[in-house]
Each structure stands twice: as C-alpha cells, then as structure tokens.
Subunit: 309 residues, 2 copies
C-alpha cells in the first residue's frame, strides 16, 4: 500500500500572549507538521514577528509563498500589525474577510480581527477566542448557545444562529492569581496542592455563588476565616477560592441568557475537568469541545473562505 | 472661674494591626490626654506589647496601676495575649465580661474579645469592630439595624435589639489594592488621582452591581476593555473599579436583611464620603456615626461594665 502525501496548502498560526502554535496544513485538510513554542506576542515584540514566523516556517520546510493565517494577540496594538475588531453583534462568517494583510512582503500573511462589544456599561474585547468560536460553531449547529471559554480571562459568548449576540469576559484566572498571592488568603492556601474539581469545598463554593453571587467577596474572606476558626485545610481553602470565582462567573453568564439555553464548554487541558465539575455543580451538562481542535478548525474555515482552500 | 481637672479613671486603647491609639479618660468621662502612633500589632509583636504600652502611659503621665482596657488585634493569636472570640449570635453587652486579663502584672490590663460566626458556609471573624458596635449601639436605639463598617475588610453587621445576629466581611479594600496593582487593570488606572464619590462612573458602577452582582468580575474586566476601546479615563477607570467592589459589597449585605432595614455607616476619614455616595447610589440614606467616637464610646462602656467607672 502506498499513500500519497498531500501538498501543503496553507499555514495556520495561533499566536497568543505567551504561546505560539503553527500547523502546516495539506490540501486535504490534514496537519502535515506542527510547531509549539513560548514565542508569544511578548517575546516576538522584542525579537521580531517576521523572524519568529520565518524560523518556524523553515523548521517545517514550508514552501516559499504559502499563505499564512494567524489569529490571536499578534493582531493586538502591541502585536505585529493591529488587526482591529469586528463589532458585535457579528456573524462568525464575517470574521475571515476582515483579516488584515501584513504589508510590504510578497507572501500572503493575514491576521484575523478580534471582536469588540461597544456597550457603555459592558465594553468588552476578545482576540483569539473568535477563531475558536468559528471552529466550534460547526459542532454546535444553529440556534442559541452559551459558550464558555475558560482561562485567565474567561469568555462567555451568546451565540444565536451563527452570530455573536454579545459576550462577557470574567477575570477569573487572573483574579485567582492576584488573590492567592497578594491578599491575606495567601496564608490560608500556602502549601495547597493542585485543585481538584472532585472536592466538596469546590462544589459547595460554586453552588453557593450560583445561588448568592452578591456574597462573592464575603465568601472570599470566609476562606481566611474558615482557616482561622473552622480548621479549613489549605487544599479546601484553595478549592473554595477557585470555586467562588468560577461559580461567580457561571452565575453572571447565566444571568444574561434565557433559562435552558444549551451550554458548550470550549477548553483544553486541566481546566476542562475543573470547569466540567463546576458546571455540574451549577446543574449544567455542557457539550465539551476541544479548544485546540476548535482554533485549528476556525483557522481552516478562515483559510477556506479567504483562499478557497 | 476655676475648673477642677478630673482625676484619671482608666486608659482606653484601640490597638489595630498597624495603628495604636490611647486615651487617658477622667472620672467624668472626658478625655484628658490622647496618643496616636504607628506601633500596631505588627510592630509591637517585635518590640514588645508591654513596652509599647508603658511608653505611652508614661507620656500621658498615667498614675501607676490605672486600669487599661484594650480592643483590637492586640488580642489576636499573634498579639499580646489571645482574647478569643464571643460566638454569634451575641449580645453586645456580653462583650466586656469576656475580656481577658494580662497575667503576671499587677495593673488590671484587659483585652476585649472579637466576635466569631461559626457557620459552615459563612465562617467569619471580627476584632476591634465589636467595640465600635458597642459604642455605636447607644446612638442607634433598639430594633433591627444593618451596620456598615468600611475598610480593608469591610464588616456589615446585622443587629437586632442590641444583639449581633450575624455579620459578613467583604474584602473590598484589600481586593481593590490587589486588583489595582497586580492585574491587567493596573494599565487602565495608572496615573489616576484620588477617587471621588462625586463621579458618574463610580455611581454607575455601584448601581449596576446592586442590580446585577453576578457580573462583578466581568464588570472588572470592563475597566480594561473600556480603556482599550471606549476611551475610559484613568480617573474613571479607578472609580469604576472602586464602585464595582463597593457596590458588590452593598448588594451582598442587602441580600441578607429584610427590605427597609435601617442602615448605619460607622466610618472615619476619607472613606466616609465615598461610602455615603455609594449608599446613595444604591438608594440608601444611612445614619452616619463617627468610628473614632464609636470605638472610644465602646471602650468607655466596657470600662464602666468592668470597673463600675
């Protein structure tokens, strides 16, 4: 048996703040080669975006002139070139055409735009997640969906018939770090291990926030007080801190949609298990979509739209 | 006209984490001398509590053997001697009798206990505020009251007929510092001046939290997004951050009492104006009680109960 190796068709790049991922994709849609590195926007802003990309293209022996489609922070103001934002409400299918081409070089290299929500009390932005959404949309089908994309800045997106009706960013991951390291709670959680979703303190904290979100910053203090007067262990203290912030995020996102709106979780890695447990504690059974696959599918959809690949 | 100088009757001390205040009080209840310093628990734990107190007693020429009543963190585990906690629900009038006497010295020096709320989902502690409450209770009268004591860890106390039914600590001040300094919001609020309650962004953030507390950590991110895409000024960004955390605290405290429960604000200094504006934005008109006076009155009530002074 022989198998014909397909020709390279395009290069897809997910270029975040602190990570770089590149896929060389064949004419049949298969991934021919892959690269991962820590040369995110922060690093590349110093060493040069063109240089970082060129080194990885060389490493996968990409033919000269192959089109490259990029999403993520490389399109931020501090990135390679500013790729702007598409304003919500926005059709996901409108994203590719709004990509911005890198000028002054022969190869067709484009960066996808982010999404901006220009509301007085709820201005919001995303960059990178719109491409995951574009990739996830195919698995979700039409109708209304609430899509959770956990992370340092968790995004919850209200999709309706392939359009982003609106979205909300919750600072969950970043707040967890800031509170764990820079407040009095640091004493309570010192020496704690990794958080497990399979922890009663975590689930109870989530459920309490879904019921009483207004008590969030009081529940945070209860981590300290519980450690002082109720023998709360470091592991349970850390779980309660995490469950409080994730539960508050879930309560907030649910407050913006009709009861019963289907929930999807787009996630990769360890956060997936934690969010699945949190959503279960809130009474939700999400469709789970792998975030790595979603971003690659989104870049593929973009390449197809732009270059008929 | 001659005026008789009253004899010193006792010494009152408010000994916090980072501050020390002492009053020499006469037999007629008047303050004969006052001392303020930065020798709070943190400093005194190194230099010696007895030594710090002795130096201030000498400075006001207090007669040897005068009784001394102390409240605050000097009674914490890391303090001079642990003064423990009275468990809620607790009558304010029971606080003085639970004071703990410093052993091994002739003078009668006592430290008032804190309050502890031993509830599984809402363990909480206070130390120092219970004495402010004891002093404020005289101005509030009987019936139900919701008492707000703003600060690094804001306390909201549910008083009912002179008893503490329960209380909640909100980490507002400490979270403000941690978020302002250690998250992406630091960019948005760099170069901001002091926060004024007379700021539309502050009042709007408070009102939004009272209405939709579940969106708290999303509203925090909107400070960053507003700065990126909506020209939010550093002053307004800082005001929105502050209004979000204070508004969330107000929403949480209100969620635990019956509508229409009278609200009292026990506060001193600049925070007073900010909280008055915040409470007004939430539709509340609190009775305002000076916190410095309240703690002195609380210590006076304690001294009277303990030593019939």
């Amino acid at each position: 048996m022989t198998e014909t190796t397909p020709q390279p068709a395009y290069v897809a790049v997910d270029w975040g703040t602190s990570s770089f991922r590149l896929w060389l994709v064949g004419t049949d849609g298969r991934v021919l080669a892959e690269r991962r590195s820590g040369e995110g926007m922060t690093t590349a802003a110093r060493t040069g975006f063109a240089e970082v990309l060129a080194s990885h293209l060389a490493a996968v022996a990409a033919p000269a002139g192959l089109p490259v489609l990029i999403c993520g922070m490389a399109g931020a103001k501090q990135g390679w070139i500013e790729a702007g934002y598409l304003d919500t409400p926005a059709a996901l299918s409108d994203i590719p055409a709004a990509a911005v081409r890198i000028p002054g070089i022969e190869a067709d290299i484009r960066i996808l735009p982010g999404l901006a929500q220009r509301e007085a009390m709820a201005p919001d932005v995303m960059r990178g997640e719109e491409t995951q959404l574009l990739g996830a949309a195919g698995e979700l089908g039409s109708g209304d969906h609430l899509v959770c994309m956990p992370g340092t800045h968790s995004k919850w997106v209200r999709l309706s018939g392939g359009r982003v009706a609106g979205f909300s960013t919750f600072m969950t991951g970043e707040l967890f770090e800031a509170v764990a390291k820079n407040t009095i709670l640091s004493h309570a959680i010192a020496d704690a291990g990794a958080i497990s979703g399979d922890n009663a303190a975590f689930r109870a904290a989530v459920a309490r926030m879904v019921e009483k979100p207004a008590l969030a910053t009081s529940q945070l203090f209860s981590v300290r007080a519980g450690s002082l007067i109720a023998g709360l262990s470091p592991d349970d203290a850390k779980a309660r801190l995490s469950g409080t912030l994730i539960g508050l995020e879930i309560a907030g996102a649910l407050s913006l949609v009709a009861d019963g709106t289907p929930v999807a979780l787009v996630v990769s890695g360890g956060l997936g298990a934690l969010y699945r447990e949190a959503l279960a504690a809130a009474g939700l059974s999400p469709t789970v979509i792998d975030a790595d696959t979603a971003v690659r599918n989104g870049l593929a959809a973009g390449a197809k739209a732009l270059w008929s690949l």
